[in-house]
Symmetry: C2
Subunit: 328 residues, 2 copies
């Protein structure tokens, strides 16, 4: 298969929103008046962001999902994306499901593939995504204020559990692993929640490198501190309750500290971590309901810098959690 | 060096034009009223787009240059770009010159780095570039009209000559190689020419996969044919005249057909190939002078589909040239 044939067969579609799509030197996009362009870019590499065993359909989904998650964290509405793809070989059996997973999620979010590049090389997927947000309404990492509540959407830590099972460091019943694996391989970008939080949340970030590490970015850029309730946080990993239900006498019991570690420093979650004034609690609940996305209040923003972990009884918990770093 | 330290040290600069630059989930860009956003994306892989021997400074330059060349081909003014970088190791001795080459060219074109991603992996550089062009004024591949003159900027084929020297298939005097190598490793994006051709050129493309192959995209998308004067084209490779001057009796003489092949199917040139009505010849000359970019008229667009090669005496020349394909 030749390069142009590959693009034509799997990735070319008629331009919709774009004035000009795939097939020229540039794509052309026109923004609505009063809108700012939100841009984000993520590169996925085999062995770092996904395992060689992953189904190409799910990989196509995930490659776009992690980018849409960045738009969600800014409260931006998805518009379009470019795809750059380095492939060892141009094989239909990989390209067909990959394109289907990718474009399926793109269609769900009305996000148009407008251009890109294909080349031979070690498998590498680089997507740059474009969204729009009304002037001045983007959710930023820098907007957290002392007194804000701290929330996180959905469940956190399950992707890390799945990774540890793949790595062989832990073993769990098959049904627990299957759910956790879906969380790792098919994350749900919280676009609807991000849009619903415009005008409500003071700050937001997507949890990709670990909850506490990503919270650290909000704290640093906002010049504030926070305390996080570890008893509440411990409940964020969906696999824990499932494990309690299905594990048998022969399964090794996992320590509470282990579950908590996956929640606090797991990574690959693609949930939204955000802060909102206490006066907006009802609005946050409404946004959660409108977007059909569960949210949990896990702590609060404080004047005193730094991060404090406290249990449900208000006792201090030592913070020994690290976040993911590609070059550590 | 950690990931955030790497970004902070080499790639973070205060936001200028961007409303929000490096360091949040998304960057935010505001377009001027009446402007369309032009977007292009190129991925560079070691061994495909550059050799492992390349100076990281030059690689930084080239990675952005090939993207700016796409904006040039659309007549778009550079605004900003994102950089995704997979690196085997985070080493200052590579990152420092790479960032200097990249940001040096970016500054020349007032093109701001607004975001990106870094990860560990086989060396891969993916840049997505953003430019602006007044609504409806972008130069497209699809605009060529029968009767148009066909032009190409600068020199073509030298990068391919340098590649062949590296491959050991040909040998040339050191000074000839040095010039050709500069063309390969440090291409000049023809941004000023692209801007000057707005309202003059009917169509344009940048020559990256070989002159005839890229001309083929214009012909296909415009539904026209062309004839190209091979005697004129043969003069487009700067190395040829230089070779004639400096080669000695011991140098093997290179066949005219060999020079012509490098011109017509060489690739990696990043010159603009464009068409303009015959009535605009004076305007094309003026655009060339205003942008200080030489252009050569190499043929004409015709109603009859297909590509015809003719020599200076009007005799037909067989077309045996192929363009570069990543998966051929």
């Amino acid at each position: 298969m030749l390069e142009f044939e590959l693009i034509e067969r799997y990735f070319r579609r008629p331009a919709r929103r774009a004035t000009l799509g795939v097939g020229d030197d540039c794509a052309l996009l026109t923004l609505s008046p009063g809108m700012q362009l939100a841009v984000s870019c993520d590169m996925l590499v085999e062995g770092r962001h996904f395992l060689s065993t992953v189904d190409p359909f799910l990989l196509g989904h995930k490659a776009l999902a992690v980018n849409l998650s960045d738009l969600a964290a800014c409260g931006a509405k998805p518009l379009a994306f470019t795809l750059a793809l380095a492939l060892p070989r141009a094989e239909a059996k990989w390209l067909e499901p990959f394109a289907r997973g990718l474009l399926g999620l793109a269609d769900e979010h009305d996000c148009e593939l407008i251009g890109g590049d294909t080349t031979q090389g070690p498998l590498n997927i680089c997507i740059t995504v474009f969204g729009e947000v009304p002037q001045g309404q983007a959710l930023l990492r820098s907007g957290a204020r002392a007194g804000d509540d701290l929330y996180v959407s959905g469940s956190v830590g399950d992707a890390r559990l799945a990774l540890e099972v793949f790595r062989g460091t832990v073993s769990v019943p098959a049904s627990v692993f299957a759910s956790a694996r879906t969380r790792m391989e098919q994350p749900l970008p919280r676009v609807a929640l991000g849009l619903a939080l415009r005008g409500i949340a003071n700050s937001a970030i997507d949890v990709s490198d670990g909850l506490l590490g990503d919270l650290g970015h909000i704290l640093k850029q906002s010049g504030v501190g926070a305390s996080v309730n570890t008893d509440v946080a411990a409940g964020l990993i969906a696999a824990k309750a499932q494990y309690a239900q299905v594990s048998t006498a022969t399964d090794i019991e996992l320590a509470p500290a282990q579950w908590l570690e996956w929640v606090l420093s797991g990574g690959d979650d693609y949930e939204l971590l955000f802060t909102a004034p206490q006066s907006c609690r009802a609005s946050v609940v409404a946004a959660s309901e409108a977007s059909q996305t569960p949210v949990t209040r896990i702590g609060s923003i404080e004047v005193e810098r730094g991060l404090r972990l406290v249990d449900g009884k208000g006792r201090s918990v030592p913070n020994t959690y690290t976040s993911f770093d590609h070059f550590a």
